[in-house]
Assembly symmetry: D2
Homo-oligomer: 315 residues x 4
C-alpha cells in the first residue's frame, strides 16, 4: 500500500527523447551509461515519481521535511523532539536505532528498543518514521517498525543489502556514498528497483573533498542533475553535508531553490549532550527558525519553476 506507482518500461523512442535532454543538461563528457540506470531514468512517459507514505507524497508538490536526532537515545528525547518538529511542520521523524560503528567502541544504537521508541513517537504525533538499516539480517525487523528504510552512505554499494531491500515492502531512502558519483548513486538505485521495489528516494548528503572547513562538500548541483536525469524524488541532508549547525539553515535554503523535494535534518533537544553528531544538530528553536526562514522560498517555487524552465532549466 506504500507503493505509489508501477514501473512502465519506457519505449525506445521515449528514451531517445530523454537522451537528448540529458545531452543538454549535463556535462557532455559525462560517462553515464544509460543501460545501468534505465529503470530510474526520466523519460517522456515517466517524468517524475511520487513515493507515498500514508498521506505523505514525496516527490509531489509538497516539500517534505524529515527531522529528528541522529540516534535514538531515550524515549524522552525522541518524544520531545518528535512533538517539536511536528509542530514546526516536519512530516517525518528521523532517528537511528542501529548506528554505523566506525569504531567497535562507539555507540552502536539501542537496536529494537530504539525502534519501539520511534514507533511510540509515531503513535503520539502522527509523524511517519525513517530509520537506517545496515544489515541484511535486520531488514525484516526494521521494516516492521519503519515507514521508510534509510540506506547510509557507507552502505550505498552493499549490493546484498540493496537486493534484500527490493522485497522489503517499504520505500527506501538511498544516501549517496562519500565519494560516489551521481552515476554510482543511480546504479545503486536501479539495483533496488530491479530487485522489485520501485519506491526509491535519492539523498544528497555531501561528498568528501579536500576542504576541511566543512565536514563534507554539499554538491548542490547534484539536485538539478538528478532531477534532470531521473524520475526519482531527491532529498537533501544539509546536516551531514556541512557538519556545522550554524550553516544548516542556509544550505537548506539552497536545497529549496534548486528543486529538492525535501530535507533530512538532525535536531536534538540538547545538541551538546548528543551521543553523536551534536555539532551538526539543530536545537528546537533553530529548527523552528529554519522552517520559518524557508517559507518565503517555498512560496516562490511554483512561479520560479516556470521561469527557470523558460531559461532552459530542468523541467
Amino acid at each position: 500500500m506504500f507503493i505509489g506507482h508501477r514501473l512502465q518500461f519506457a519505449l525506445a523512442t521515449t528514451v531517445q527523447a530523454r537522451s537528448e535532454t540529458v545531452a543538454d543538461n549535463v556535462n557532455s563528457r559525462w560517462n553515464g551509461q544509460f543501460s545501468c540506470y534505465d529503470l530510474v531514468a526520466k523519460t517522456v512517459l515517466r517524468p517524475r515519481s511520487v513515493v507515498r507514505v500514508g498521506d505523505i507524497a514525496i516527490g509531489g508538490d509538497e516539500f517534505i521535511v524529515m527531522a529528528g536526532p541522529c540516534a535514538v537515545e531515550s524515549e524522552r528525547q525522541v518524544l520531545d523532539t518528535a512533538m517539536s518538529v511536528a509542530m514546526a511542520g516536519a512530516r517525518i521523524l528521523r532517528g537511528g536505532a542501529y548506528k554505523p560503528r566506525s569504531s567497535p567502541y562507539s555507540f552502536q544504537g539501542m537496536g529494537v528498543e530504539g525502534l519501539k521508541i520511534l514507533s511510540k513517537a509515531r503513535e503520539v504525533t502522527g509523524l511517519a518514521i525513517i530509520t537506517e538499516v545496515m544489515s541484511e539480517t535486520d531488514v525484516e525487523l526494521v521494516a516492521e517498525y519503519a515507514d521508510i528504510m534509510q540506506v547510509g552512505a557507507r552502505s550505498m554499494e552493499n549490493f546484498s543489502l540493496l537486493e534484500r531491500l527490493g522485497t522489503c515492502g517499504r520505500p527506501v531512502l538511498l544516501k549517496r556514498g562519500m565519494t560516489a558519483t551521481l552515476e554510482d548513486l543511480l546504479r545503486s538505485a536501479q539495483f533496488i528497483v530491479s530487485s522489485g521495489n520501485p519506491d526509491v528516494i535519492l539523498c544528497e548528503r555531501g561528498i568528501r573533498t579536500f576542504e576541511t572547513a566543512t565536514r563534507n562538500t554539499f554538491d548542490v548541483a547534484a539536485v538539478p542533475v538528478l532531477k534532470t536525469v531521473s524520475h526519482l524524488p531527491v532529498i537533501v541532508d544539509p546536516s551531514h553535508a556541512v557538519g556545522v549547525r550554524a550553516l544548516v539553515p542556509v544550505l537548506a535554503r539552497a536545497a529549496v531553490v534548486v528543486g529538492a523535494d525535501g530535507l533530512l535534518v538532525e535536531v536534538h533537544p540538547r545538541p551538546d549532550k548528543a551521543f553523536s553528531d551534536g555539532e551538526q544538530s539543530l536545537t528546537f528553536d533553530q529548527f523552528h527558525s529554519m522552517m520559518r526562514d524557508l517559507d518565503p522560498y517555498l512560496g516562490l517555487r511554483q512561479q520560479a519553476d516556470r521561469s527557470f524552465a523558460a531559461a532552459g532549466g530542468f523541467d
Copy 2:
C-alpha cells in the same frame, strides 16, 4: 580612488571575539591558521569590506552581476554582449584578452587588442571591466584598461603575480584554485593585501571532485563560510562551477540565497560558435531570463538575512 577602505590592524581582544564566532560557524576540526589570514579575517572592528569601482560597491547591499564572454573574440561580439547584459542589469563586463593556454595550440586571446575592445565597450555602455591577468609582466598593461584584475584558478598560488598585484592600483578578483581549500584561498588573499592592496574580492568557482556530471563541484557552503571568517566580498562563478549552460541559472539562485555578493557569468551571442567555454555560456535570452528569475530571491534577501541571523547564521 578605487580604494574603498584602509586596513586597521585588529586588536587582540577583537580577534578573540572573532575566533569564538569561527568556532561556532565552521567545522571544529578546521585546520585554519589564523595568523596566515588575519588581514582578511572578519573581526568586530571590520565585519565587512566594500570594494568600490566607480559608483559600484561590491560587498555592499547591492547584488553585483559581472557578465560577458569567456574570451574577447571581436568588437562586434563584445559590444553586442555588453549592451545586452547591461540592459538586463549587469554592472560589470567580463571578457578575457589573455587566456590560460593549457595547450600551446589553443586560442591564447587577442591580447592588447582585446583590452582596447573592452575599453570601447565601457565607453559605450558605462559598464566597468573585469579581465584576467596571468603574467606579472602584463600587470601594468592590463591595469591601464581594466577596472578589476581577475586572477584565475590556475594562478591562485602564483605568488609573484599576487605580490605584483599588491601595487597595481586596481581591485583584484581572486578565484579559488581547482583543489584549493578555503584556507589556501584566504592565504593568497592575505598575500595581495599584505603586498599593499586591500581591495580583494573572493570568487568561488567550483572545485575538482570525482563527479563527472558537472565540470566542477560548486561548493555552495564556501559562500557562508567565507562570509563568516572573512570581511572580503564573495562572488560566485556558476558557469565554471557547473560547466553546463542549463544549470547556470539554478546555481545562480543558490548563490543568491546563501549570501553571495554577486555573480560572474559567461554570456555569448552564439555559444555554439564560441572559441572557448561555449557549453557553459548563456545566450542573451537565457541571461535575461536568469536575471528576472533572480529578482524575487533578491527581494527576499534583506528579510531573510534577519531571520537567518536569528537562526544562528553568519551575520
Copy 3:
C-alpha cells in the same frame, strides 16, 4: 587450526614505545587515533603477526603470491589457471564465486558452484583458496570452502559483515576501500579482531584519485606505513591498483622492495575473453615471467631489510 597466534594485550609502557616509533615514521600531522586500532597496532610485545593457512605462513619470511582469475567462470578455466600459477610459484589460488554487482545486469558469479570448482582446484594442486564474501548471510557457506575470506573494497565499512567475520574461523584478507585512509583500514581491521578473529591480512589495492591513466593510484607508501604502525601482514593487489596488464609486473617489483608480505594477482588463460577485469589480468606466460622477474628482488630482501633498518627504516 588456522589460527597462528593469540592476542596479548599490550602493556601501557609498550604502547608508549610504539607511539614514539610512529611519531618518527609517519606524518606528524596524522590524525590516527590510537585507541581505534590498538588491537592491530605494532608494539614491542607484538611487532609482527603471522597468519597461518595450513603450511603457508603469511607475514613470515616467505613472500606469498595469491593468483588466479577475477571470477570463476568454468572448471576448465580454474583448473588450468591453478596448475599454471602453482608451477610458477603461487601458494594460494584466488577466484571470485560471488562478484560485486555494480550493475544488476553484470555477471554476478557462479555462487556455490564456483566454490566447488575452487575446492576441486585445491584438491588437485594443493593450493589454498581465497575468495570474496560480500554478504553476511553467505559467510558460513563461503567459510566451508575457502581458506581465506576476502573482503572487497566496497565492503570495507560493511560493519555487519566484519562483525560476522569475527567468528567465521578463517583468516580474513581486508581490502582498503576506494577512498579509505589507512586509519579507516586499521579501524575496520580492529573491528574484525575485536569481534574475535585475530587473523587479519591487510591489502593495499589502489585508491581513487584524479589520475585517469591508471585505474586507481597504487599507494606504495601504504605498505611501509602499515608495516610500521600495525603488526598485521600486508599484501598488495597490483592488478586492481593499476588496472593495466603491462604495468602489473613492474608494480609487483615495487611491492617487493617496499616490504609487502605478498601479492594478490589476476591471471586468466585468455584475458581477452574474461567475463571481468580482462584488461588487468596476466596471461600464464606473463605471470611466469613476472615471477622470474621478482626472484632477484626477493633475493635482496634479507640484506636490504638490514640496511634499510640502518637508514632509520621500519624494522
Copy 4:
C-alpha cells in the same frame, strides 16, 4: 651546449605505432589527447631523450641523484651538504634560493645571495646545480647560476613562466602539480618544448589524496606510464612524495625498480634546525645509507629491464 638533442618531428606512421603501444600500456579509458603532447611523446623514431648537463646524462644509463637542502640557509650549510652528498654519489646539488611563500610571513629564500652560494658549492665540489625559479622576471638571473631550472608543483600551470623557460638556454625539471593528471603534466612539458626548449625532465613528487599518514601520495605507477608514453627522462622526488624522513629510502628503492632515471632528495646537516621541510630531510648518514641501500637494486636494473620487457613491459 647543454642541449643534448634536437626534436625531430615524428612521422605519422610512427605515431601510429606509438599509439598502439599506449593502448596496451595505459588504461583504455585514458582521456589523453595525443595532439596536446605530441612533441614529448615516445615514438619509434624518438624512444628516449637524454638531457645533458656538462658530463651528466639524465635519461641515459646512469641513475642520477640530485640532493641537498630544501632551502639555501647559509654558505656553511650548503658547502657541508654538497661535499657530503657528492661523496655519497650524488651528481647534482639541489637548494632553493627562491621559495614558494604560501604565507607572506614564511621564509622566502636568500635570493641572489643563495644563488651565489650554490655557485660556490659547484666550484668546490664539481656538482651541477638545480634550483627553483618561480617568477618570469627571475628566469634570466636564475639561469646565470643554475644548470637546471626547477619548476615547482604550484607553477606547473604558470604558462607565462613555462613560455619564458622555452628560451632560457637551460634544461628544465618540471614537477607535477599537486592534483595534476599525467596528461596535464605532459601538456605543460609540451608548452616548454614548443616554446623552444627540448630539454625537459619530468618529476613525480606525489599527489594530494585523502590519505593523511603521508604528506602526499607517491604515484609510483606514474613512472612507468610516463616512460611508456613520453621520451622525456623521469625523476622521482621521494621527499615531497611522502614527507616523512624514515620512509624516503624505501620509496627511493621503489623509484629505482620501476624505472625512474634518478632522484631529487632533501638532505640537511641538521634537519631538526631546517628552516623548511625538516621533517622530510635526511641527515648525511641517512643519505649515505640510502645510497648504499640502492646499489644492489641499481645492479639489477639492466637484467631486470630485459625480463620486464619480456613480460610485456615498457621498453
